[in-house]
Amino acid sequence: MDRAEIEELVYRSCLLLDDRDFKGYLDLCDDEFRYTITAHSPEIRKDLIWLDHDKKGMQTLLEQLPRHNSDHSPLTRHATVYKIDVDQTKNEANVVSALQVFKTDLDGGATALFAVGKYLDTVKLDDGRPKLARRVVKLDTRMLGIGFHIPF
């Protein structure tokens, strides 16, 4: 499979989440998709798991959003694909991307860096179209202010 198709999968996932097109985002994901947000705390010297869902769990989480009070500031995800390692035997690729997330205030439009980290993706290459099978968002940023309801 062409490297550009894998890169485009990562970039489309950012654009669809930016647009809050959650159905479109989940369509990029394999049925066995699992999504996890992790960080490491030097304070307690432990790895943290801040979110961990399968595809159904992600779908429920996203569908429940209108019932919750949330910060409605738009996020802009900026990913750069650094590395793609294709495992021919498994017909999948391990992809490492740098991630920056910016938040823009609704009132006034000021934009600030919200978080940095990496996407660690496993991409299935079956069926002629790459699909996200696993996404680990490994955050360097641990101070997220008042938090956010929509995953990165």
Binding site: I44, L48, I49, L51, T60, D71, I146, G147
Partner: protein, 402 residues
């Protein structure tokens, strides 16, 4: 009916204990006074003993009174606390938030200290001081420290303070049966919010704001027993919110908690707010601890810890982590909503705003939506500050109107 300017500043027609002047949330002078009269006089949670599991482990803590501390477990396994300030030139002794070191050595001029606070090396001591000053003169400032109430490490800047047990009194009696076993912190994160620290404590104290939480409405407010939860005030400003059975499966995608807490009824939830800014929140499978470090009248760091049992199997721990973060992690359903609320209060009541009164007037037989918890807190605040929360500058406008 909307109000005119004059009507807006009129005191509410409630007893003076049932509202506060909102300037107590914004005034720099009052804030500095709070640091001296409250935070530097009361016991405060610095960290948990599991963060200092081994001899020579250390952990830094920005004390809410303003002084940076370092907590150290000695080779005798005793936990001690010191100012994280070198007595030589005032440098930070420890830079990393946690670690392990047999000696604390200042990077600036390599003065070195042991885990009991003794200075054990002054570089080129004789050449520089000719016996005019020596290691015995250069000990660290030790701070009163006790470990208790679930293994938390408590500190008090005041050398003459009462023992921790006296400060807590009977306030933890409902929770103590459940936190006697070894516990372990599995989650830590901070939020910096432009709001006053008391507003976060208020949010932890009043459950009337469950209207803001869809999760709490369907799993709690709409379930039997919710409106029976009692609030009880204890000496020194502490408040208990009694338990009920939370119906976790009432929220789509959620289910009854598979991992409980030893002795706690299934779905149980006990919450205790401790003056001046800590909350024990044991909710079915996880103990959450909030502690605040105010940075100014309108800025606070809130430290969040998730705590499980030290004896947890990997599967039990994974479930506690999941349960915790579903509602309380940085992407959790409830925490973001709570923080939105106090962020909005900070924005509306910022200095220069013509906000005037904040109401604590609900009376519902000391049950869950009664605002008795906040009234109890501000009575203690007033006692320690020597000011009335409803009239902090003794303008006597309230008593004149009442």
């Amino acid at each position: 009916m909307a109000k005119s300017a004059a009507q807006w500043i009129e005191p509410p027609r409630l007893p003076p204990s049932h509202f506060v002047d909102s300037r107590i949330y914004t005034d720099q002078v009052l804030f500095e006074e709070e640091r001296q009269k409250i935070f530097n006089k009361t016991w405060y949670i610095a960290c948990h003993e599991s963060e200092l599991a081994d001899a020579y482990d250390f952990r830094t803590f920005q004390h809410p009174g303003g002084t940076p501390l370092v907590i150290v477990r000695g080779d005798d396994m005793k936990v001690r606390s010191f100012y994280n300030i070198c007595p030589h030139r005032g440098n930070s002794l420890v830079y990393d938030p946690a670690g392990n070191a047999k000696r604390i050595t200042c990077i600036f001029h390599a003065w070195s200290f042991d885990t009991k606070g003794n200075c054990v090396d002054i570089t080129r001591e004789e050449q520089g001081y000719q016996n005019r000053f020596c290691k015995a003169d250069a000990g660290l400032r030790e701070v009163r420290t006790e470990v208790g109430f679930g293994g938390f490490v408590w500190v008090n800047i005041d050398d003459n303070c009462e023992p921790l047990k006296e400060f807590i009194g009977p306030a933890m009696s409902e929770l103590e049966p459940y936190i006697g076993m070894p516990l372990e912190v599995f989650h830590y994160h901070r939020a910096v919010v432009d709001t006053n620290f008391k507003l976060w404590h208020d949010t932890n104290s009043e459950f009337y704001h469950d209207y803001m939480h869809y999760f709490n409405r369907v799993t709690g407010m709409m379930q039997p027993g919710y409106f029976d939860r009692k609030c009880v005030g204890y000496p020194n400003g502490h408040v208990l919110v009694g338990s009920m059975e939370i119906k976790y499966d009432a929220y789509e995608g959620s289910k009854a908690r598979g991992v409980g807490w030893p002795g706690l009824a299934p779905g149980g939830w006990i919450l205790i707010d401790l003056f001046p800014g800590m909350t024990y929140n044991l909710r079915t499978s996880v103990l959450r601890m909030d502690s605040m470090v105010p940075l100014g009248p309108n800025k606070v760091v809130i430290e969040y810890r998730g705590v499980g049992l030290k004896s947890d199997t990997p599967e039990q721990r994974a479930q506690r982590v999941f349960d915790h973060n579903t509602i309380w992690g940085p992407f959790g359903r409830n925490l973001h909503e709570d923080l939105l609320g106090v962020h909005g209060q900070g924005r509306a009541m910022r200095p220069g705003s013509d906000s005037r009164w904040v109401l604590h007037g609900r009376e519902e037989n000391a049950t869950i939506h009664d605002e008795i918890g906040m009234r109890h807190y501000y009575a203690e605040w007033g006692r320690r500050m020597g000011r009335k929360a409803f009239d902090p500058y003794s303008e006597n406008r309230v008593s004149a109107a009442a």
